[in-house]
């Protein structure tokens, strides 16, 4: 069910400012790919081109192709809203809908897709909460507000919300940077489970997390401020962290720059 992502020469703009240039990469199904790099190098921007969330910002646009299996997400006649229905996203700060209960949060995406049958919703909510390793902690209080949980639990709630609609791909934009170390490890373990069902792309500024969790790692960087960010190198995580091909990659991961 999860799909391969192929980016071909992706450029993203904020107005006339080119934020990323010429990004091409392949992400295999059922893998975790981490994107690392210094601040402002465009890794989050690239992530948002995958689910066409970048263009929501006024004046922002994308050039290039992003293929999901054989379909170009930026092709003529492709509805961005439909794209976002098939690609889930988890954000840096957990953002459950504050006025909704835990149940309603998880069911939000399903209801958007027109599913009203309460039995179907019940099953989907339980399945998603189990998948996000949150079921046992919240099964007694599904009607309570989502905002009453701890940070790590809220983030897992957002993960449950994202996977409830069974997306092909799961995008995670620095999902653990607002969390404490134990919650972070819990979510990293979760990713290892989730990759059996989804293709996962994670942006992280924590290199050690990329090293622990991903199968492949891509390194983004820019020449100087004002320049667009580029993909410098992408390879298996083992190679990147033991013997990267590019000197810039090695300089970054050893902390000699950035």
């Amino acid at each position: 069910m999860s799909k391969r992502i192929v980016a071909e020469d992706v450029n993203a703009f904020y107005g006339s400012f080119r934020a990323i240039a010429g990004v091409s990469l392949t992400i295999e199904p059922n893998t975790v790919t981490a994107l690392i790099g210094p601040s402002g190098c465009g890794k989050s921007t690239f992530l948002r081109t995958i689910n066409r969330l970048h263009e929501v910002i006024p004046g922002a646009r994308v050039e290039g192709k992003v293929m999901l299996d054989s379909e170009d997400l930026y092709g003529a006649g492709v509805d961005a809203v439909a794209v976002r229905r098939t690609i889930g996203m988890v954000f840096q700060r957990p953002n459950p809908f504050p006025t909704m209960s835990i149940y309603d949060n998880v069911a939000a995406g399903l209801r958007l897709n027109g599913i009203k049958n309460s039995k179907v919703l019940d099953e989907a909510v339980e399945r998603s909460l189990r998948g996000a390793n949150l079921w046992n902690e919240v099964k007694e209080r599904l009607a309570k507000p989502g905002a009453g949980l701890s940070g790590g639990q809220q983030q897992r709630l957002c993960i449950a919300r994202a996977i409830a609609v069974e997306p092909q791909v799961l995008l995670m934009d620095e999902p653990c940077s607002a969390l404490d170390p134990i919650s972070t490890l819990a979510i990293e373990d979760l990713m290892t489970d989730l990759k059996q069902r989804y293709t996962i792309v994670i942006v992280t500024h924590n290199m050690q997390q990329a090293a622990r969790v991903s199968d492949r790692t891509g390194f983004f960087s820019l020449e100087a401020t004002g320049e667009p960010g580029r993909l410098i190198e992408i390879d298996t995580t083992e190679k990147i962290f033991s013997n990267p091909s590019e000197k810039r990659t090695e300089d970054y991961i050893t902390g000699r720059f950035g």
Binding site: D189, A211, R212, E238
Partner: protein, 221 residues
């Protein structure tokens, strides 16, 4: 949490135990080949060392990967650092077993060891085998008392080594220069092999205590 990491870490430990098993059996077989002038056994030991070398390279790669990707700390970190050292020591033990087997092969069909020294060499061989196996147990159990015992076994081999030289130098040697060199070298191989096993013992002590203390201080009363 971090199950796959802990599994990988345990895998490195298992690899070391396997290595110690292989080299222990190599030492035993080499000694037999030596004393029985068994060519086949000698060849078998030499060929089997390739297996040991392969395991050595694999363990090193795994340890480096764990360091690069998992940021181990505390006991985990010491486990990986000592694993790198111990795999090297065990590999040398394997190499010494090969040296012993090669001596046997070189002199075949003649026996290398003169009759009056057979007992000594046999004892050295048995002690060496025992010490190699014990090293494996120490790695598996991280038992500091056992690690201390290992040092005592090494003393035994050192004593035997000394008595070997005494025999060579007591003026009654009449088996010729070639035999003398062979015997001296054999004694050396066993003695060096035991020293590497002692290194393993030191490494495990460091792993458990985090200090470079003498294993003997942990000997049971």
């Amino acid at each position: 949490m971090r199950t796959s990491y802990h599994e990988q870490l345990a895998g490195v430990g298992d690899g070391l135990i396997e290595m110690s098993r292989l080299v222990g059996s190599a030492v035993s077989k080499a000694t037999t080949a030596l004393l029985d002038a068994d060519l086949d056994a000698a060849e078998a030991v030499i060929v089997a060392d390739e297996e040991v070398n392969k395991l050595y390279r694999q363990l090193d790669d795994e340890a480096v990967q764990l360091l690069a990707r998992q940021q181990p700390v505390a006991t985990d970190l010491r486990a990986i650092v000592t694993a790198l050292r111990m795999s090297s020591d065990l590999e040398r033990v394997g190499d010494y077993a090969v040296h012993i087997a090669k001596v046997a092969r070189r002199r075949h069909p003649a026996t290398v060891v003169p009759v009056e020294l057979r007992a000594t060499i046999l004892e050295m061989g048995q002690a060496a085998t025992r010490i190699a196996v014990k090293a494996g147990t120490v790695i598996a159990t991280r038992d500091l008392a056992l690690a201390a015992q290992l040092l005592a076994d090494d003393d035994t081999i050192d004593d035997l080594h000394a008595s070997l030289f005494a025999t060579l130098l007591d003026g009654n040697w009449d088996h010729g220069v070639e035999a003398a060199i062979d015997v001296a070298l054999l004694g050396r191989y066993y003695e060096r092999l035991a020293d590497h096993a002692v290194s393993v013992s030191h490494a495990v002590t460091y792993l458990v205590t985090g200090e470079h203390s003498d294993p003997e201080s942990y000997a049971s009363e």
